[in-house]
Symmetry: D2
Subunit: 314 residues, 4 copies
């Protein structure tokens, strides 16, 4: 594979779900990809300029927000989200070519995958033993290299992401063996602050709102800034800012693009009622949904109202 | 008195509270003042161009809104409010010079004044009879001209506005005999649509919001447009628009000037969520109050937020 | 007509729209009906016990609230609304039997009716003269009795309510000649305070909410009490309470019955946030509409929630 | 120490902050305490009945919510919070008796403690090396037992909770060496579902609200249920329920006790608008604050309103 000269960081190791997500991002796909051991390390590579961007998980439908990523976005030097990918969490049972499902006795995988696939394993391979490794990719490597487990016997199969099977020459014995068939992980491409790309009509915007003080109605006030302009939230997370119990900020995703009039006015409203607002970016939605725009909140409605006001002011 | 060449209409007859209010308006005071028999007639003089403006009552702390005035502002050709005056409703017992309070047996006044002064009269002049006339000014004239009542006997005293006593040469026998010492009437100067005068820091703005349809949450939605921008209402009146029971509009007064950023944004919000908005004007408050501006809603706060957004949009 | 022994008052004179409304009320129809010259007089008859109830206009789709009625409900001794009627404002041109439309030269009516029928008269009877009288019923009487107008000539026709034609033996020359074909007046039966009749599923409740002080957010707070419980307002009117400019109350009508759980909780909320709340009554809707109940706000939903809470409290 | 027969689980190992928190809880202090390797294991001991309760961290002012605890409360069999403790995160440098601060060359601690104390160490002990262990308590044990590090040399000092010093016979060389002097961790005592203890006037209530579907205004609707009844939130966390990206619930803490009328009504409101509500408990606030009760929301206000409604309903 010919690799571009631009470098992107991602949360490693290789052949896990994050690399699979990175490969789906058009901006990233043909470029050089460097695995990093932690979210912090991947994002530090962006902050130092070593990498153009970093692909990291932000949110998981089972585990919730990835706090390590959220905290990098909330604290320290400002960053931007320039793209998102939604990846189904598809666990595959994989083995060296020629292995028969019926002969699998020893499986290796990561603890999260083990928890997700426990029902399948106990039903289909009741006699198999599952051992735990540091990542699903490492499990695939161990099987490919016939590495022995703790007792010295080799592993028969690994539970890992489909990409690991392709990468390490393993065959799939069973597809999609996780419990939650709808499980998704949302990955984002994190870059230095930048002007957003043009609106597509199916966009999402992310920001962090730091509340002025811990007054009880702060969150209600923030939500009203959105509701009054017809801007729908898709996600809200509270996080401590790190300055004493009770000093919170809210990481918020919502429909629309910073270039949209309703989004701009809601963001200016936040800016006025919050201690600070950190804009993270506007980017195309991974699901391609184009939500309906509430009556009175289109760009044309805002333009008409502004022209009307201008004329009244004389 | 030298009178200017500009003509102003007012709700007559002469020497009632409305003329007293007109004389307090700097723009009107030295000009020619024409009494009209009804609010409709006074405002029609403005619409036809016969008068530069009309002074009419809008609101009374005892009787509430003056619907005749409200409906002229709500329906028909657009108009503007360019000034307001608050006048205490001070009822005076007045008589021909030389009349002694103890000798008053027959009083004449308007029914509203009679209702307001009933307690005083029954306490101080228990034997007096009160007859009703078409206006307080007409009552004063009747006394000045010694006009007889229904039974042919002359009136001893009138209850009227202080101005009527001055105008018709009557002496005051008792001041402020109304029941409600705090009663006030609010008068407005109605003009053709015009660009408002500059903000003074103590301003009020008036408009009419016509709701899009009779959906139950319309009023809440309107109020939220104001609340989100920190704009305080001082008065709200619902009125039918005349098209079937249940088609309402709201006549709203609020703190601030159309030139204020928070007011402008709230008005644009109304324009977007309402079927129509009729701007009536921004003008100095008669009470001179300069209300505090809520944190985050000053013109500087709006400018800062707009500059921030501009920079984010790149 | 055999008349019951119970007496009801109504705003007279006879044969106007108010009497027509009274005759539509099942509780009132067969009873003795006494016309009174003013709303105040009709309601005073209830307060003194002289009448069992009074039928008075409350709201008109063209003229708005009838303040005289509203103020009787807001101030003074408490009263109840026990029924409502909606009556189309149908103006009829009526004349002595044998009169031909083409021969009508002199018409008499009340000023409000004249304004509503001006277009019809100027189109269909361009040469006719319209004179004004004290009521539409008086106009019908004048025609029936061939009473002369100011210049001594008799009237050819009256514009009045259909009932007046029946009552005074006049024939209809033209139906429904008013401008606003949808114009409606809402009349209410006012009684002493009483326990409401049972819910019908199509009910309305009326109350007056007196705000605690003139704080800017008071109305928003009141509306939120309703919105949180899914109770839809059908009408809201602000009125001064009579204690200084700016001391307001709100007369509010809303869907549902005081026996409904959502209505009860909203009313308790008002009671807690307002200076005072005056309950006027729950009664069947004149329009028979059974509005949908928002998810989570039925009586069963409230019962379920109360049982759940009870069990948590242990 | 004589130990009771009741067993409590806590997140181990021994002598970390969680054990210190457990010892501050009156209900737990004299009882048998069993350390568990994970939050899941500690809470499982409660679910199986092996332990009466479990002390686990819920929230940290630096790291935010402890998701492992939150998810145990959100998913699976219902549980209750019956007490909370706030513990300052006080890191201490501790060594074997007789060790001099100047002679410290090798320090061992947990990674979180290392991050918090990095500034202090680099300033005061620039030549010291810090090695990482599995817990702060294990670090203290290693020092007490003079256990060697990776290169075989023994450790001079540990950074750990004050309790570890007492427990393992170490002396304090420096107090409170963490960066964030205000850092606090909130621990809770988790029990099987139970009737809450009586209100103290300084109480907190916790619940989980599962939103009906991912409709954009769901959170606003939830917050309004609290705001309308004057109930102040102290914390809100969104968490996936585990059924597909976008199915959220909110873990909410608020002022007051389930026995308080305003709290009860807000909770019933939630119950009606949410898909489900899981009550976690009402318990005394660790900070002892008795917040003011907003006008109109005291128990007496609710009682008065209920009596009024009862009387209206007749």
């Amino acid at each position: 594979m010919v690799v571009g000269t631009t470098r992107y960081a991602y949360l490693g190791p290789e052949a896990t779900f994050t690399e699979a997500a990175a490969l789906r991002l058009p901006a990233v796909a043909g470029e050089r990809l460097d695995p990093h051991p932690t979210v912090h390390a991947a994002i530090a590579a962006v902050r130092t300029g070593e990498a153009t961007g970093a692909v990291v998980p932000l949110e998981n439908s089972v585990e919730g927000s990835v706090n390590a990523t959220l905290d990098e976005l909330i604290r320290g030097e400002a960053l931007a989200i320039s793209a998102e990918v939604l990846l189904p969490v598809t666990f595959v049972l994989m083995a060296r070519p020629g292995t028969d499902l019926g002969s699998v006795r020893r499986i290796v995988t990561h603890p999260v995958a083990e928890a997700q696939c426990r029902t399948w394993v106990s039903t289909k391979l009741p006699d198999a033993v599952v051992e735990l490794g540091s990542s699903t990719a490492a499990a695939a490597v161990a099987v490919a290299e016939s590495a022995p487990g703790a007792d010295g016997h080799p592993y028969d199969a690994a539970i890992a992401a489909p990409l690991a099977g392709e990468r390490y020459g393993l065959d799939t014995l069973a597809h999609d063996i996780g419990e939650d068939a709808e499980a998704l992980t949302r990955f984002v491409l994190v870059s230095p602050p930048r002007t957003p790309t043009a609106p597509t009509g199916s966009d999402k915007t992310s920001l962090v709102a730091y509340i002025r003080d811990d007054h009880p109605g702060a969150l209600l006030e923030i939500l009203e800034q959105f509701a009054t302009r017809g801007v729908n939230l898709t996600r809200i997370e509270s996080r401590p800012t790190g300055n004493g119990m009770g000093r919170y900020c809210f990481a918020i995703d919502f429909e629309g693009h910073v270039a949209d009039a309703r989004v701009g006015e809601a963001m200016m409203g936040l800016r006025r009622v919050c201690a600070d607002v950190r804009f993270l970016g506007s980017y195309p939605r991974a699901d391609g949904v184009r939500p309906p725009i509430r009556q009175g909140t289109s760009n044309a409605d805002f333009r008409d109202a502004a022209a009307w006001l201008e004329q009244l002011r004389g």
